[in-house]
């Protein structure tokens, strides 16, 4: 496993951005390190709303899809969520071919993604608040 970290985490409001700095390639060779770094973060940050930023990733294989499914479940189990953003057209195609574009919420550029993710969380919180009000009345 390489000493250099593959993912850098930064907070922006209620969202944590995980910027993948993979030197453009995520494959079967470094997928274990990628998964470990993200899962370690998720498992120590309860309720994290994670946005994985793929803007510097030029290539990924199905091994990475498997890892993303694990991370998605871990985020849900931790009471948070996972969104993806800034996928190039080839990587988007891989999600499409495997139907995983129906499994993951995928946004465009990172700034737009943060805004849309935060808005969806606000709507979700409002819906939950209203459902409590309806139950009480």
């Amino acid at each position: 496993m390489s000493d250099a970290r593959l993912v850098a985490f930064t907070e922006r409001g209620v969202i944590t951005i995980g910027t993948i700095q993979a030197g453009s390639v995520l494959d079967a060779v470094n997928v274990t390190q990628f998964g470990k770094e993200v899962l370690d973060f998720v498992n120590t940050h309860a309720g994290v709303n994670l946005l994985l930023d793929f803007h510097s990733v030029e290539y990924l294989s199905s091994a990475v899809l498997t890892e993303l499914l694990r991370i998605n479940q871990a985020c849900k189990d931790a009471g948070g969520g996972l969104r993806l953003c800034a996928l190039n057209s080839d990587i988007s195609k891989v999600f499409e071919i495997t139907n995983l574009d129906k499994m993951f919420v995928i946004y465009g550029a990172v700034d737009e993604a943060v805004m849309r993710y935060a808005r969806s969380l606000a709507i979700q919180a409002e819906e939950q608040a209203w459902s409590h009000v309806r139950k009480d009345t």
Binding site: A28, S62, L65
Partner: protein
């Protein structure tokens, strides 16, 4: 029979994968089968086939070998990935349910390549591709 322009044997370990992938991809570019800068889907198919041979075929048993051979056959490049496992039938591999963790590699190969089959006599996955048509920009199958 035409002599392969690329042959490489590796032990069944992910550590051995990176170098083989790089060399095989470079050979495809050098022989003009894939354009430099448009290697995404060739890299994807090579990786999925090799990983499949290592993990499913040879069950990651480092004593067992995986071999890749690439041969020019007229308008096609034939890529053969040999393992020492029980073999499988790629045509019968269906896209898994959304939550299922594994099983997408073969479906990706089937989507990208012109022909895919498993040769049970020689224990190898055979993939055929034409020059510079491999899912270029994702447009070929649209």
């Amino acid at each position: 029979m035409t002599k392969p322009f690329f042959v490489r044997e590796l032990r069944s370990s992910m550590d051995a994968l990176g170098d083989t992938l790089k060399s095989a991809l470079a050979a495809l570019v050098e022989r003009g089968w894939v354009e430099s800068g448009h290697t995404f889907y060739a890299q994807l198919c090579l990786e999925e086939a090799l990983v499949n041979a290592i993990t499913h075929g040879n069950q990651c048993n480092e004593c067992l070998k995986v071999r890749i051979e690439m041969t020019e056959e007229g308008e096609y490049c034939l890529i053969r990935v040999y393992d020492q496992g029980a073999g499988f039938t790629p045509e019968r591999v269906a896209l898994p349910n959304l939550e299922q963790l594994n099983g997408r590699g073969v479906c990706l190969i089937r989507y990208c390549m012109d022909e895919v089959s498993y040769n049970h006599e020689e224990n190898c996955l055979e993939m055929k591709m034409r020059r510079n048509t491999l899912c270029k920009g994702g447009a070929r199958h649209e």
